[in-house]
């Protein structure tokens, strides 16, 4: 799964926004935040699929903490974008 396809979807970008806000969330918390803060009312199954795409792209990782499965944002794959199209210093000042 490439990172470009993973972040092409607005629901998946909202998931990443929420995991940046607080890392280590359960599926329930992610769904609650999407519904209440973004008006995204997808089913839990649909969100699970989105999480699978993000995990396959390396943008999130999951770990069992206690009896729950939690999700963390992982930004490393996004570095490849900045490295592929670096922003020149002089460009920034334009």
């Amino acid at each position: 799964m490439d990172v470009y396809r993973a972040i092409a979807d607005p629901t998946r970008r909202a998931i990443l926004d929420e995991l940046v806000d607080r890392s280590g969330q359960s599926l329930f918390e992610i769904c609650a935040r999407l519904t209440m803060k973004h008006g995204i009312n997808s089913s839990r199954q649909a969100i699970t699929q989105h999480l699978g795409v993000l995990e396959a792209a390396g943008l999130i990782r999951t770990r069992r903490e206690g009896r729950s499965k939690l999700h963390w944002f992982q930004g490393d794959p996004l570095k490849a974008i900045a490295e592929r199209w670096p922003i020149a210093t002089d460009e920034r000042d334009m």
Partner: protein
């Protein structure tokens, strides 16, 4: 029709009774021995004649896999209303309660989720005044 009873399945009724009364602060309403188990309900001190909350044994074989699957995805077994989630969070943390979700502002409500030590996740929820 009114709702007079709600509840959760618990892995140990006496441990649950201690947690729901001594830690959370509910009051014992009924404790009727029924052989191996008991009919145990608690009520809120703010509404002692209100809805009773049943601490039901999880002895049925379907219960544990069901509750475990909920907990794996972080889904609370039930939700309690509080006036101030942040204050409850601090009060309960000081008593050693584990929270799996700290107070989180979700727009119309603030929620937090705790572990009841008897198998369940429990949400506490504060409704914000509507503008």
């Amino acid at each position: 029709m009114r709702i007079h009873l709600a509840g959760v399945f618990v892995d140990d009724q006496q441990k649950a009774l201690r947690f729901y009364t001594e830690t959370l602060g509910f009051q014992l309403k009924h404790n009727i021995p029924l052989g191996e188990y008991a009919w145990i309900t608690v009520v809120s001190p703010e509404d002692p004649e209100g809805t009773e909350f049943l601490l039901e044994p999880d002895a049925h074989p379907a219960v544990r896999p069901f509750v475990q699957a909920l907990v794996e995805d972080g889904i609370p077994s039930t939700s309690f209303a509080v006036d101030d989630v942040q204050a409850e969070y601090e009060r309960l943390q000081a008593k050693g309660v584990q929270f799996v979700q700290p107070p989180t502002d979700l727009g119309p409500v603030i929620t937090a989720i705790l572990d009841d030590t008897c198998g369940n996740l429990i949400q506490i929820q504060e409704e914000k005044p509507q503008p």
